[in-house]
Amino acid sequence: MATHRDPALAILDPHEGLRREMALLQSVVDGDRQAGLLLWRCAPSIVVPRRLTHKPGFDRACEAMAGRGWPVIVRDTGGDLTPQSPGLINVALAFRQRRADGGIRDSYLKLCNPLIDCLRGLGIEAYCASVEGAFCDGDYNLVVGGRKLAGTAQRWRKLAPATGAADDMFAVLAHAVILVDEDLDTLWHVGNAFYRHCGLEARIDERLHVSLAELLPDAGPALLEQSLERFRACFDDCLQSPCDTSDQ
């Protein structure tokens, strides 16, 4: 029987994974912690922002995709459609952030810079950029050689009055989904099938992505577990006391 040395290797139902992310954010909102980190893997599913639920074809698309084994789940961090599967690693970082000019950019950099440093340690030069036509495109994708390795999104909420924080201090959940070791073409075909069923013109261009397995062809079957360890370790500095981490 397989044993999971790292609890984040367990594959979560998407509802449970997203519930844990929002619980992490809530713990910062309530002042229970200053910051926290959650790493998790998700069962096959299609995660969409709330805006897509208002599209006329949404229910039809959900039914069609569920019938193919790809249930559709709504998340609260905006962005765009993201196919999820166990070969991807979700990194959710929650922290306090001033809602000032550049606050959204700074929040993305808190998430992306440690990952960029981590990848550099593996000989991979990643950077933040938009990749038009990639899944869930935005200015803070993690990109390698023009191809997208990770997508990102954010949710902002006010801190609870009991925290005594200044009015312009918010709680932020910054989230990345990193393409680690997966048959990417399948993901994009599924994503595009959703768009078609939903009656939307958007399409994901499968040529615009790259996985960590492709960048590290000699990594072997332990790549997922090793990646989890590396990604967790790269946030140690920004989670120093009084910050903490959570895999719960």
């Binding site: 809602r99 000032a100 000019d101 935005g138 954010q154 902002w156 909420r157 009015d167």
Partner: protein
């Protein structure tokens, strides 16, 4: 410098409030807030009839950069929402104090109006944040 109309009231969470002649109030997010968010792609608003207390989460704005909660600046009942935002969320960016309004409230405690910021106070807050 963001646009801060003198005739409106404000709260620190970047919502504006206009007191109408019938005593109801209209609520939206400020020019400063929409600028921070970037291009708005979706707005989820409370249903008409929803009772809100000041500070309650009243909806969500999704932009190309982030999703952010909308807060009720005052306590009261939602009597109307801006249904145009369903098809045209970009109105929040293009006309935050006009066609980009969010919802109207029938106040349950008019004394809360005394706690709102005026334009100068809100402008100072924005200045301090930048």
């Amino acid at each position: 410098m963001s646009d801060v109309p003198n005739e409106l009231k404000y709260v620190a969470s970047h919502e504006w409030i206009r007191v109408e002649s019938d005593g109801t109030v209209t609520v939206g997010v400020t020019d400063h807030a929409q600028d921070l968010l970037g291009d708005v792609v979706f707005v989820e608003l409370p249903g008409a009839g929803t009772e809100l207390s000041a500070g309650d989460e009243a909806g969500v704005v999704e932009s190309v950069k982030a999703a952010s909660d909308i807060y009720a600046p005052l306590s009261g009942e939602v009597i109307e929402i801006n249904e145009d935002l369903e098809e045209s969320p970009e109105l929040v960016n293009s006309d935050p104090y006009g066609d980009g309004w969010f919802f109207k409230l029938k106040l349950s405690d008019t004394s809360e109006l005394d706690d709102l910021l005026d334009a100068d106070g809100y402008a100072e807050l924005c200045e301090a944040e930048s």
